[in-house]
């Protein structure tokens, strides 16, 4: 096979290096040219068949090209046999074969275009622009054939015209193939394209020369038919290019080809219209320009459609949305993004997103990543949920969660990112971590005492010191109780807040509950030397009495703990509208204003030693708040001068209730004086 190719090339070169002066007119030249022509076509056919047998993909296409060569050869042979060296009429039987050549050749190219994945509308327009421009050029040379009636019979002229038109179809198909491959042709396809272009030029010139009667067989023009066979043979011989693993649209470069042809079309309009007065050429060139207009209209409409489709949706979503192009310039921006980053859409469009939103130390890496992706298609960021830190307009950094997707458009890649400010989530996470740290500390503290005292007791070092051993037992016991209270309180608050505890709401008397709570705390008050001042108020309450009692005893217990000896703790209950207000007031050390809210948080005593010193768990007020809020009430603390007042509201029982509730409601305000305990 290689030998055949070498022979073909040798013959073609031999034909080419013959002195130009020897070409034309002589019978020997005609025969020689014919021989070279046949040899080139034959070798081309053999090479194409060989390629067809060697490849997996494109076998049919190469076979069809080989078939086209055979038809060409057949035409040539028929011509030689019928008319010899003297030349035959136009059209002749040979022309039937030569025109038939275009059918398998075009079919082969159509197959390749299909294999490349078809052609979008925009590309078809591009090809039409190119075709109309080339047609215009062709017409500028060959239109005489049609218009000049002296050029011979109609059949003669139509036959002469058939070749350039057929060539043009082939060139069109090659252009489509190129367009379908994003205007990147392999070496083989480039040779094929060159071959058809050469044929198109040669046939156009031939048609013109035939029309003018100046064509001479065996002349230089014949080289224009011979050399393409060499090109096709070389295309078949070449090792196919490895398939490009990454295919990308050429971006703005995609428009270079149609715009380039359109410029030529403008020249053609001017030349053919003003100089040559060739209406066919002008019409074709004008068609090319019309196609270019349609092409831009298509781009514009697609853009408008995209904006119309996505714009309103993007402005109602809560996530920030941003698009940027290959250069990193922002191309889209929704209102949530305005809120997140502080840049308005007008300000931010066209800005470099890397320089605008990324912290200084991340910019270089991002730029490198982007160019690496554009060059290779490799990436480990797209379509993944990422967490990053970005810059707000005012310079502060904000943690965001984002997902970027890429989209291939006519203008290259567009990157779309949905971003969400996760500052709040980060804060919750931090708060959770802190809470876990606090809980572990709160649990470890009593455990340390228990572990230590029991360890000493178990070792026997205290065997000879019964008093010390007893003290260690007490420490273990006290801290075990504290641990139990802590665990209970933590479970309690968790259950109340999560709503797993069912509140057994019922109508109950607020005054009675205050009395019950005071009774429960009387012993503690007595031990602390504190007086409990209990009012005689009443109020019909709609609540879970056990939980209200728990809240009251908690508050009273706190009040007693922080009261100096001899002080008084006042309790109060009052109906205000559809609420019952409870109050517990002490004469203790008071609460700093900045802590009035904080003390209701878990483990947030005014002084972190308070809980331990006073035997609490640091959860009492948090539990109170949970209970009250679950009932739909409010709890707060006030502290003016000495002492503080804790108050909370609970819903009053509705006016129309069971007879029992009605009886209770009637008793509201029926006070019976203070009840003192010491």
């Amino acid at each position: 096979v290689r030998a055949l190719i070498a022979l073909g090339f040798a013959l073609a070169i031999a034909a080419l290096v013959r002195a130009p002066g020897h070409w034309g007119g002589h019978a020997v030249d005609r025969v020689f040219a014919q021989a070279v022509y046949d040899a080139a076509a034959g070798i081309g056919a053999v090479l194409c068949l060989w390629r067809a047998s060697a490849v997996d993909k494109g076998r049919a296409a190469w076979s069809l090209i080989a078939l086209a060569f055979v038809l060409e050869l057949a035409g040539s042979t028929v011509y030689a046999v019928l008319y010899g060296a003297s030349g035959g009429p136009v059209p002749s039987v040979a022309d039937a074969f030569w025109v038939a050549f275009y059918v398998p050749m075009a079919a082969a190219l159509v197959l390749r275009v299909r294999a490349a994945g078809g052609v979008p509308r925009a590309v078809i327009l591009d090809v039409m622009i190119a075709a109309a421009t080339l047609g215009s050029i062709s017409a500028a040379f060959a239109a005489d054939v049609v218009t000049d009636t002296d050029g011979g019979s109609l059949a003669h002229r139509l036959t002469a015209l058939a070749y350039p038109v057929g060539d043009l179809v082939l060139v069109l198909l090659v252009l489509q193939l190129a367009a379908a491959n994003a205007w990147r042709l392999g070496r083989a396809a480039t040779l094929v394209a060159g071959c058809f272009l050469l044929w198109a030029v040669t046939d156009t010139v031939h048609a013109a020369q035939t029309a003018h009667g100046t064509y001479v067989a065996g002349g230089v023009l014949d080289l224009g038919w011979i050399f393409p066979f060499v090109l096709l043979g070389a295309a078949a011989w070449l090792v196919p290019d490895p398939p490009t693993p990454f295919r990308r649209t050429a971006g703005g470069r995609a428009l270079v080809v149609p715009v380039g042809f359109a410029i030529v079309a403008v020249v053609m309009v001017l030349y053919s219209g003003l100089v040559d007065a060739n209406l066919v050429a002008v019409a074709l060139a004008a068609t090319a320009l019309a196609c270019l207009v349609a092409r831009f209209a298509l781009i514009f409409r697609r853009h408008l459609a995209l904006v119309a489709r996505t714009g309103p949706v993007l402005d109602v979503v809560h996530d920030a949305f941003m698009s940027f192009d290959e250069r990193g310039l922002v191309t889209d921006w929704n209102s949530a993004a305005e809120a997140t980053f502080g840049w308005s859409r007008e300000e931010v469009l066209g800005r470099d997103f890397v320089a605008t939103f990324l912290p200084e130390d991340r910019r270089e890496a991002q730029r490198r990543h982007m160019s690496h992706f554009l060059a290779t298609g490799e990436d480990d960021v797209l379509d993944r949920r990422l967490e990053r830190t970005v810059l707000h307009r005012d310079g502060r950094t904000i943690p965001i969660e984002l997902m970027i997707s890429s989209q291939e458009t006519d203008d290259g890649y567009t990157f779309n990112a949905f971003l969400r400010d996760i500052t709040a989530r980060r804060e919750v996470e931090t708060a959770k971590d802190e809470f876990v740290a606090i809980v572990s500390h709160e649990l470890r503290t009593p455990l340390t005492s228990i572990r230590g005292s029991l360890g000493l007791l178990a070792s026997g070092v205290l065997d000879s010191e019964p008093a010390k051993a007893e003290r260690m037992l007490e420490v273990a016991l006290e801290n075990t109780d504290r641990l139990v209270r802590l665990v209970n309180d933590m479970l309690d608050i968790e259950r109340i807040e999560s709503g797993t505890v069912h509140l057994a709401r019922q109508a109950c008397d607020a005054g009675q509950l205050v009395h019950d709570a005071a009774d429960a705390m009387r012993t503690a008050a007595m031990l602390a030397g504190v007086t409990l001042d209990v009012p005689g108020g009443h109020g019909a309450l709609w609540a879970d009495p056990d939980r209200v009692l728990q809240t009251l005893t908690n508050l009273i217990s706190n009040a007693i703990k922080f009261s100096p000896e001899g002080a008084t703790v006042w309790l109060g209950v009052d109906a205000r509208g559809d609420e019952i207000v409870f109050a517990v007031r002490d004469e203790g050390r008071g609460i700093p204003p900045d802590k009035l809210e904080l003390i209701f948080e878990r483990f947030q005593q005014v002084d972190s030693s308070d809980a331990r010193e006073k035997g609490g768990t640091g959860l009492g007020l948090a539990i109170c708040r949970s209970i009250v809020e679950q009932h739909g009430g409010r709890i707060w603390a006030e502290s003016v001068g000495d002492g503080s007042t804790f108050q909370f509201t609970l819903p009053a029982a509705p006016a129309i209730q069971s007879p029992r509730t009605a009886a209770l409601a009637g008793a509201v305000g029926d006070g019976s004086g203070a009840d003192r305990a010491r």
Partner: protein, 133 residues
């Protein structure tokens, strides 16, 4: 020379203070002083010049690191080695404690039978001084 050492235990929790004192006295044979807050610790350290200070981290008022800073600022107490005793031992805490220059950190709950050995190892003392029972 193996000798009885004087150790200042600073903790706001009564139980822990008692247990640590008992452990260092009965197992380690040391003399133990206690303080229940940072201010008290600074005063006692200056007066009694202990050989080492075991310092709780989470304390009201002056916390462990703040107390340590005061001890360091005072020429009378700046040479006394300080060991933190803490129930708060997240990795971030460890890094923070390492930065401020304390000799070591002992985690709560601690083993009362090995506490004095641990302290001795940290400070390069001989284990079980002569006075040990």
């Amino acid at each position: 020379v193996r000798a009885r050492r004087r150790i200042l235990v600073v903790d706001d929790d009564d139980g822990i203070r008692e247990v640590a004192q008992m452990s260092l006295e009965m197992v380690g044979g040391h003399e133990v002083l206690t303080a229940s807050c940072g201010y008290d610790a600074v005063v006692r350290a200056r007066e009694a010049r202990p050989d080492a200070i075991l310092l709780d981290v989470m304390m009201p008022g002056l916390d462990g690191p703040a107390t340590f800073a005061r001890l360091q600022a005072d020429p009378d107490s700046c040479r006394i080695p300080v060991i933190l005793l803490t129930a708060k031992l997240q990795p971030a805490d460890r890094a923070r404690f390492a930065e401020i220059g304390v000799r070591a950190v002992i985690a709560k709950p601690f083993d009362p039978m090995t506490l004095s050995d641990e302290v001795a190892d940290i400070l390069g003392w001989a284990r079980r001084p002569a006075a040990s029972p």
